[in-house]
């Protein structure tokens, strides 16, 4: 009997330790795109339940192929995001001196707005006035909604399997 008790206690301890570590070690990821879309289903056909910003951190709770079920701690509803919108690195939006120092010696941090950025593009434009960005800006404004894509698929009798 005492042996059984000790096995029981040990098992409980192991389980509790596991659960505690799980709670503490949820994998955090960061939105690495301008606009991160959270959906109700692991598919682009899933309804959009939230939109997250560049640099926002989320906790990954489940994985289904390339889709991650994420939770925004204390934030908007949970849902699915495509993994290509997520980075394992923490993205620092307004990096200070200590972040710059950390980033120099670590692969864990990304500094937003550093390196090739809007300021560099503006400087490039002032030095190369013959390079015209008008149509690049127009291209970015050519928005396509998920409804349009869905109608396009149905009208063309396509049967997409979605991202794998």
């Amino acid at each position: 009997m005492p042996k059984f008790k000790s096995i029981l206690i040990t098992s409980l301890l192991v389980t509790l330790t596991g659960l505690t570590v799980f709670a503490l070690e949820q994998k955090l990821m960061s939105i690495q795109v301008k606009k991160g879309t959270v959906r109700s289903q692991p598919s682009f056909l899933g309804k959009v339940v939230a939109e997250l910003n560049y640099g926002d951190q989320v906790a990954v709770q489940n994985v289904k192929g390339p889709w991650y079920f994420i939770d925004r701690p204390g934030g908007s509803p949970d849902g699915w995001m495509h993994s290509s919108a997520l980075s394992t690195k923490k993205i620092v939006l307004k990096p200070g001196a200590s972040d710059v120092d950390k980033a120099a010696s670590s692969d864990e941090l990304t500094l937003a707005g550093k390196g090739f950025n809007q300021q560099v593009e503006n400087d490039f434009k002032s030095k190369n006035p013959n390079v015209d960005f008008t149509w690049i800006n127009k291209m970015e404004k050519m928005d396509v909604s998920q409804n349009q894509i869905q109608n396009f698929v149905e009208e063309g009798k396509l049967s997409p399997q979605g991202a794998q």
């Binding site: 659960l19 489940n62 993994s83 710059v100 670590s106 990304t110």
Partner: protein, 314 residues
């Protein structure tokens, strides 16, 4: 570890409940280990950036990996590179201002991007027709994709247009553009991240960074417009085109239709595409192993009629 392998590993980890057993720190260590880059040499060179001189040896002494490759450009930086490369590409061929045709291409392109391995980029995918008889299609980093009227005339059906767009999405997905940037510029651009904590770069740093930016844009533009990618990059993009079009529900033989038409239309005096791409015949031979059994593209009437309506008079 490649992105897909990492994803598979994570998926398996969840499946077998590894995380709930408290194995997360271990998994995390393995995953970050996969992303580690080669350590720089102990006696690294110094890099001069404006008023600053960076001793890479000193950085190496911090005991971490700081060697930089094209993969270290953030999606945000890739986006800025792509915008300017796109503007350069538009200097070669002007835009074709036809809202209906461009809209058709953008809806199709977004649908195809969603079927790719990299559906989300920092600023998203965008497609534009260029007003040129030359047969050409180009992708700037981050998802700015250009196709000429000339290449669209090689497409007898929508499935063939989809193959052209999917091939370019393949180039974006594999970051072929960024891989054209010379290593010295990558080192200079990415090491500069360590020098300044102010919100904006000072004049000297900015001038140096813009110079590196211009050189990087020039490396990519030169590769896209003048020299062309290696054959292996082109074949890799063709394999992507087959995989993406299949997933999207198209007949992958749209690519074969397009290449056969291109063979007929490529003229000796229009050397641009022929100079920058392997011949249609060698591409046709190369894709045989991936494309599956022979098939004839038969677009449903609704698909063919919208294709004619949008691009019939291209």
């Amino acid at each position: 570890m490649k992105r897909s392998n990492r994803r598979e590993f994570l998926s398996q980890a969840f499946k077998y409940g590894l995380w709930s057993l408290g194995a997360t720190p271990m998994i995390s260590a393995i995953l970050s280990g996969c992303e580690m880059l080669d350590n720089i040499a102990e006696s690294g060179p110094t890099i001069e950036l404006g008023d600053y001189t960076i001793d890479t040896k000193a950085i190496a002494k911090k005991g971490q990996s700081v060697s930089k490759t094209f993969e270290d450009f953030t999606p945000e930086q890739e986006y800025y590179i792509g915008r300017t490369v796109g503007a350069r590409v538009l200097q070669k061929y002007p835009p074709y201002d036809n809202p209906r045709a461009n809209q058709y291409l953008n809806v199709m392109g977004q649908m195809l991007a969603q079927a790719s391995d990299c559906p989300e980029t920092f600023g998203g995918y965008h497609f534009l027709i260029q007003d040129s008889d030359e047969i050409n299609a180009l992708a700037a980093p981050g998802g700015f994709i250009f196709v000429t009227r000339g290449i669209l005339r090689c497409c007898p059906n929508e499935d063939a247009v989809a193959a052209v767009l999917a091939h370019e999405i393949g180039h974006v997905q594999y970051k072929h553009g960024l891989q054209s940037i010379k290593q010295s510029r990558i080192t200079s651009a990415l090491t500069s991240l360590a020098i300044d904590s102010a919100k904006e770069y000072g004049d000297a740093d900015l001038a140096k960074l813009t110079e590196t930016f211009e050189e990087s844009i020039s490396d990519i533009s030169q590769k896209l417009i003048v020299n062309g990618y290696s054959r292996s990059f082109e074949y890799q993009a063709d394999v992507s085109a087959i995989s993406i079009t299949k997933r999207a529900g198209y007949n992958p033989y749209g690519l074969v239709d397009m290449l056969n038409q291109m063979k007929i239309q490529l003229k000796p005096d229009r050397q641009d595409f022929a100079k920058t791409h392997p011949s249609p015949d060698s591409r046709l031979a190369e894709i045989q192993a991936y494309i599956g059994k022979n098939s004839v593209v038969t677009s449903p009437p609704t698909r063919q009629s919208r294709f004619k309506a949008a691009l019939g008079s291209i």
